[in-house]
């Protein structure tokens, strides 16, 4: 399955799609980019008069690129009949630098394990200057239907 096919299978749309491009994907990991549109609604309130991308949104971006894209790739390569959904089960993140409206980030995920439908990945997000803005570990269950 190629990057375009995976993007087409993502269950998100605006304003909650946080993947622009999937640069690389194989059984060991994935790399993708996203640019935070300065008009995204949450910037109006986070924070008042000082917009910064919320940590939960950075975490979501890492989950969509690292966990969901990779989970769809891994499960549909194993079983093409199955429609994969990925349910987030845990995250542990460290945040190093702020991400401002309009910034582009690159997320790289490395699979730690994929066993018994659970995918666990180490993820790193870098800004355009190549600085690490956040990193951590994220996992989810890859299921055949939503809310399984």
């Amino acid at each position: 399955m190629n990057a375009q096919e995976i993007l087409a299978k993502l269950p998100y749309s605006k304003p909650f799609l946080f993947v622009d491009e999937l640069l690389q994907i194989d059984e060991n990991g994935s790399t993708g980019t996203y640019t935070y549109d300065k008009d995204l609604d949450f910037y109006k309130g986070h924070f008042k008069d000082a917009p910064v991308t919320p940590g939960v949104i950075l975490t979501e971006t890492m989950a969509q690129i690292g966990l969901v894209c990779l989970g769809i790739y891994l499960s549909e390569n194993a079983n093409t009949e199955m429609k994969a959904h990925v349910m987030l089960t845990s995250t542990a993140m460290d945040f190093m630098k702020p991400v401002f409206p309009g910034e582009m980030v690159t997320v790289t995920a490395e699979k730690v394990y994929f066993r018994f439908k659970k995918l666990n990945c180490n993820v790193v997000m870098k800004n355009e200057a190549g600085e690490t803005v956040c990193k951590g570990n994220i996992s989810g269950m890859v299921t055949t239907k939503m809310n399984d």
Partner: protein, 84 residues
């Protein structure tokens, strides 16, 4: 290997994933990971992976599906140890 020894190993492995210390202290063969220890399916995977490492065994998908309580987990571990 004695079943009591295996139960105490299961207890040790499950400890980081449950907040219900009383249920953990009272662990027995009838204890369910999900309803008694309140462990979710994602952490159940981690318990199974930790048990694989602890006992030097490999657990297949069908066996994993059975491992919802202490008794069935014991049975799987004993069967896998016997295969070694």
């Amino acid at each position: 290997m004695d079943r009591e020894v295996i139960i105490s190993a299961i207890k040790e492995v499950a400890a980081p994933y449950t907040q219900d210390k009383q249920a953990l202290d009272e662990i027995s063969e009838t204890t369910s990971f999900i309803t008694d220890l309140k462990i979710n399916s994602a952490n159940l995977v981690d318990i199974v992976l930790d048990l694989e490492e602890k006992f030097g065994i490999e657990i297949d998908n069908d066996s994993m599906a059975k491992m919802l309580d202490v008794k069935s987990t014991l049975d799987v571990i004993e069967a896998k140890l016997a295969e070694k």
